[in-house]
Symmetry: D2
Subunit: 337 residues, 4 copies
């Protein structure tokens, strides 16, 4: 932590800052510049957490030097992690494909989808049983009934099953059905839910919040890990910007950024990012080329009859074509699926 | 709802769209342009909700004509609403001041703050018992103990009490203590929580999400109202933009925009928006001038010892000065506090 | 300037950084933390401008302590400036109203507008002779002919005249007609134009770029001042964000931020920010309450026949009403117009 | 064009809209909904450009159906264009690599760079002779001297030469030296410059503005093409968002979006987007996978001594490695370099 004093700060202001630091058993290093004085803090900064040094007269600003997340931080865990969902690994060497409809609509469509995406190369079946929708009047999901359908379909096809949980109640039910939990963008900072997921010990995919910084995202992962669940996979799904040509702006740079800041696997969801079916294939290939550990893709037996997100869903045939086209990209990235 | 066809759309594409519409008992109005054909839909559009017309070949885009929120919509409720929190009204003619610390730290500081802000003109005591914090290692709030403190302080000073709830569990406890619930920015689309708050029938202040559009915000209000709780007050608290000179960018235009789109009262929180104490007074005055129904301001007996958000908190004296300076602005806006 | 080393930086990395600094005759102050080493630089940092310290192995990041703008900086010019446009001051104590149509359409409408806005209290007549338009097929302005019209109208009504210049050629012509130049949002970083305006010695209003940070904006002002023209007035006109309910998002916090960082006057243009006529009056009042030194408002004799930006223009009557309503806000802010 | 009336619009309001339309020789198609009335306009909409239909009482909003750009629009030019810079094509089947330093510093470094990037596979040598810099005190470029250096270096190595022009004066000089002009992000809406470049008939690369929508970007291209210069290549270089982990947010979705909306080639500049050297290789591969027609990469003989943008420049060796790694991605995309 570094405290930068204002040019006109008096000596007693600097002294007050130094006293605040040393009174907590920390060391203060002064750097007297020609325009400003800078005070460096050495020692366990959490002891200063409740002191508002910014408010000491003469203080201009305070700069943080180290990240607040530790368990998710590559600095303290330099080797990239592999997360195991049962016997299915996610991480280096793998290109994990998760596919399925936005919303679970009935058992039959889940069965059909499971068979189709398995045949094409997917390892996970996705599908929403609890749908967070902007309008209260939109379809909200089949809840436990949906979980039963996806479980059966996953088992029948030999796929792992991943579902979003949107509340503690949904979590309580979902843990009995799914192999992997998903925290959606809208709940990335639903801290109660993160903590409870952390206690659940079931692997979890944490989607990036709609306007979350990468730093906040890794802190959200830290909530889960610090409660005892180290099996966190991150998922970039687009951020909100001024550009409206796509539903969200896929921030593909997040892949190499996460790779440099964290040891956790990171996968990409181009379907929600683009919101337009025709953009999914190029963005999926780009994600693999950028180093993603996997992809989450919306697939629906009949996109034009989907209850949710039809326009961004692929048909079985389109998904199969995509998987075939992805193969050489996976090879180049030394990944298999 | 309007469907715009692509220039090269064939007649059978247009026919397919028309069929999709009429098959639900709705009417389709064709408008044959020189470049494109446009199809207008007349009737109850919710019947089309599960049809993905975008996917019919030849469709270019679909435009929505009417808002999805109804109960929060001024079009269907032209008169501005007054929300009653016990005997305290929020709405036209009022400038409701809510003040207090970011986090409840102990009983004494709540008592002191309550007395000070009441004397200055506040009607509500605020204070966080459940604190959503970016890092799991930051102070998370006193929970029920904090609620007891704020209740006692509010009662002693004759102030209404407002607290944020961050989960169903917190809600269950909070309803026994507070006069008004607060949904924070991070939970604006925590739909489970919104629905439960809607069932609680306790007045609620709904903060705008960090990157929520005004349309999404009003849809979130709709979640609460549609569950039976009409007593919703909106609170603008800054949105996330590229500009980092302030913690968030206060979107003061939201006040007249809400006024034109909804009948619900809207108050402004300049403390969280600015994040810097020196900007609060000018922004508070600006909020009143823009037509806000109230203000939420962070006040702390000793900002430099606050456990949270000290740099943006006002001292008692600063708050008193602000209230004095706000009076003539309230007069101009024909509001009292 | 502060250099933060990576946790794993070797002693020779730190030594290399120190050498790079001392080799330019500057001093390096080491602060050995428990996790990281920090190197503070003391002396004239511009000597390091061409050294890319970031690339020395072991360097994590480099933080700048002081702003790059000097002449626009309040730290070196603590008293708020008053800019004089002829005998008309802009700055403390004044509320300078600039009004007129978006585009100059003909002489008659300029005459009518000049008389109307003068009567209502404006000090400046605005009007675009060179219009930067998104589409090449939209109306681009009357150019020199327009300048003649606005000059005559300004003279007839006793108003100062302000016009946007969009190129060096436009500047060359405009200096013969106008009292004040305007640099529009799209040209805020058209550095050639800024420099030439700096050499012109005519007072200039510099609008904030569509997505310019306040820091970049002040650096743009520095371009003008450093060429010899100190008479710069800043104009906040809304920034681009994800929110589309208004044309741009008026960043009213910019007013107190500028006030704390610069001595230059700052005025607000609510017309371009809001893009909707009904939001202009509340935002104009809010701007005055936030401390703005003036307002730029679009006024048109017949908004529904305007060639540009009609929907956001006020009629004469609406402008007169607004001015009357602004008076008490100006009084409260101890400003006159 | 579609005009949506307010629910409470009276019949005479609708009649007024219809009259405004028919008075220009256009047709109005009424669609009477249960809640609102919609008026479709058929015919040449430019005739309505000067009518502000929004201001007719009862009008709620006006929606545009067709894009304002025509010459850059794929709808009217369905086949993807190949732009020829001398004998060097940019477009389908090509992966055009442009490489070189951010700023031209001296002749020797340009010679060295030209030889190195040519050997690695580049077709163009880039280098800034006119540098738009945020601060007036930063290095601004060697101007004509720099153009001489890059021309000689390009000729010596057998590379085409591309340079940014930032003003009409720079353009006048540059046309005598370069094979391709570059319009930088800050000048994307410097319409005077765009028009003059349009008259120059030299191929031009148009970078996307810092916060430009894709629609505005294509309209900027339209400015150039409509003046007679059809040889426009677009360049995505990152947009400004709230996320600060990278210098800008690379909007890679822009590649498929442009592909669907325009026939112009689009290349990607990952160097300026990322601002961090380590992220360039993954983003370059991702760009090719997403369908880009080329890449612009910063390369410097000694990044740690670069006068500008050193931290994001590759060394010769790193560039050579990147080109070798890009080859199989180019093969997959059926492109050669």
């Amino acid at each position: 932590m570094i405290i930068i004093m204002k040019p006109q700060a008096a000596k007693e202001n600097v002294d007050a800052v130094v006293r605040a630091i040393t009174s907590k058993g920390l060391q203060a290093h002064l750097s007297q510049g020609d325009q400003v004085t800078i005070v460096g803090v050495v020692g366990d900064k959490t002891r200063l957490m409740h002191d508002n040094l910014e408010l000491i007269p003469g203080v201009d600003k305070i700069l943080s030097v180290t990240e607040t997340y530790k368990l998710a931080n590559k600095k303290f865990h330099p080797q990239d992690s592999t997360i195991h969902v049962g016997d299915t690994p996610i991480g280096p060497g793998q290109l994990t494909l998760m596919a399925g409809p936005c919303a679970i609509e009935n058992e039959e469509m889940m069965m059909q989808t499971a068979m189709a995406v398995k045949a094409a190369g997917a390892a996970f079946l996705r599908g929403g049983a609890y749908k967070p929708r902007t309008s209260p009047y939109a379809f909200q999901g089949l809840e436990e009934e949906g979980l039963r359908y996806i479980r059966r379909a996953g088992d029948a096809a030999g796929l792992k099953v991943i579902c979003e949980v949107t509340s503690l109640k949904a979590l309580e039910t979902a843990v009995r059905y799914v192999d992997m939990l998903q925290i959606g963008a809208r709940n990335m900072q639903n801290f109660e839910l993160l903590k409870e997921v952390g206690r659940s010990r079931i692997p979890v995919m944490l989607k990036r919040g709609l306007s979350a910084t990468i730093d906040e995202w890794l802190n959200a992962a830290e909530y889960i890990i610090s409660e005892g669940n180290p099996d966190v996979v991150l998922c970039e799904r687009g951020i909100r910007t001024y550009e409206k040509a796509t539903r969200n702006t896929l921030d593909l740079s997040a892949v190499p950024v996460i790779r440099s800041k964290s040891h956790l696997p990171v996968i990409v969801d181009p379907s929600h990012a683009a919101g337009v079916r025709g953009y999914i294939a190029p963005l999926a290939k780009a994600s693999v080329a950028a180093g993603a550990d996997g992809l989450m893709i919306e697939v629906h037996p009949c996109p034009s009859c989907a209850l949710s997100d039809g326009p961004q869903s692929l048909t079985f045939e389109q998904f199969e074509t995509l998987c075939r086209e992805l193969k050489p990209y996976a090879d180049l990235a030394q990944r298999t699926f």
